[in-house]
Symmetry: C2
Subunit: 207 residues, 2 copies
């Protein structure tokens, strides 16, 4: 982690949400927004929003609200989203293929540039113009293509071992779709995409 570590991770997790909501408001024709109105949209208190943004300096003027366009730009810069991030996918089963074909990554600056699998019957095939390569190529390809992000779409049973393989590469961030709680060294950043966990955290309120 090379950035200011005094900013709590929960704050960083909310910044993309702010960008998302601000972008929607901008598309709806709005130019200025109050922390109250942004908070209403996101079900976050205005005080929380002001506190989150205060970690990164002063935005907007007391009582005048935020200029949406410049706030989007500032947050985009803070998160390092003003450039393209090359990523690779590991595991090209049904899920991996759906991810490669997902149209939502590229407009946000995330490009899947290579794909890896250990199934020999898949190696050499292409999905959405990306050739599937064997796992033993990952270290060199990741380095050549300045890939910092790996998207993990392998079965749960092998996910931990694949993560161990990734530790030795240039990959610094993992988006994990396998339904496990993986162990990762502190040098790697991990986010889990886990619909089952999300469902399980809702039923508490339903029962």
């Amino acid at each position: 982690m090379v950035k200011d570590s005094s900013v709590p991770e929960v704050v960083i997790l909310r910044l993309p949400l702010y960008i998302r909501a601000l972008t929607q408001m901008s598309e709806e024709g709005q130019a200025v927004v109050s922390s109250k109105s942004l908070g209403d949209r996101l079900q976050i208190t205005p005080a929380q929003i002001r506190k989150d943004l205060s970690y990164f300096g002063r935005f907007g003027k007391q009582g005048r609200g935020y200029k949406i366009a410049s706030l989007i730009e500032e947050l985009t810069n803070i998160l390092g989203l003003n450039r393209q991030w090359n990523s690779c996918i590991v595991g090209v089963g049904r899920l991996g293929k759906a991810i490669i074909n997902y149209p939502g990554f590229v407009p946000e600056g995330f490009k899947i540039v290579s794909a890896f699998d250990n199934d020999e019957s898949k190696i050499g095939q292409t999905v959405n113009e990306i050739q599937i390569l064997p796992m033993n190529k990952i270290r060199s390809i990741v380095k050549e293509n300045d890939i910092k992000i790996a998207i993990l779409a392998v079965p749960a049973t092998i996910a931990q071992s694949v993560i161990s393989d990734l530790v030795d590469t240039n990959v610094k961030a993992i988006l994990n779709y396998a339904p496990i709680a993986p162990k990762v060294p502190k040098t790697l950043i991990l986010r889990n995409i886990d619909p089952v966990l999300s469902l399980q955290s809702m039923t508490y309120y339903l029962d």
Copy 2:
């Protein structure tokens, strides 16, 4: 929200993670776990784990650790996961089909029992033995099948309007895959599955 609202939502969000990690430990042959060891696995402090569990009474004895099997059972009961939850999917495009075919929901007690779409060419088709029905059937089908959870896999442009339709049904929880920050009334529980937001919250640490 019918449950004790004095438990912070962040605590509820962590409980499924605890179940997941405890289940892994149990499968690895472990019978007892300390809050330190569970915390190491999840990168959560032992104090946080003890505090989270303390909302629900006393588990384990000071210095002896937690009995894994009984802690799993207690947490499962707390979250209401000791039963089957019927759910429906709205939007049966490529993503919706992948979700219907995802094998991970059923073992965790979530069964997709019906599917809805407004595309007339899809209505009447079946995916994984589930027949695709028109949206105007959703209110009656949801009621008949005691469906409390809707999984939303529609395009971003129509997601908000579909959510408004769902407000009038028996659905109480939405798992949203559309990349928007939807507005929902307080009577509905919402979780977003949003890989782009997850990616965007990692690049801060990479730049």
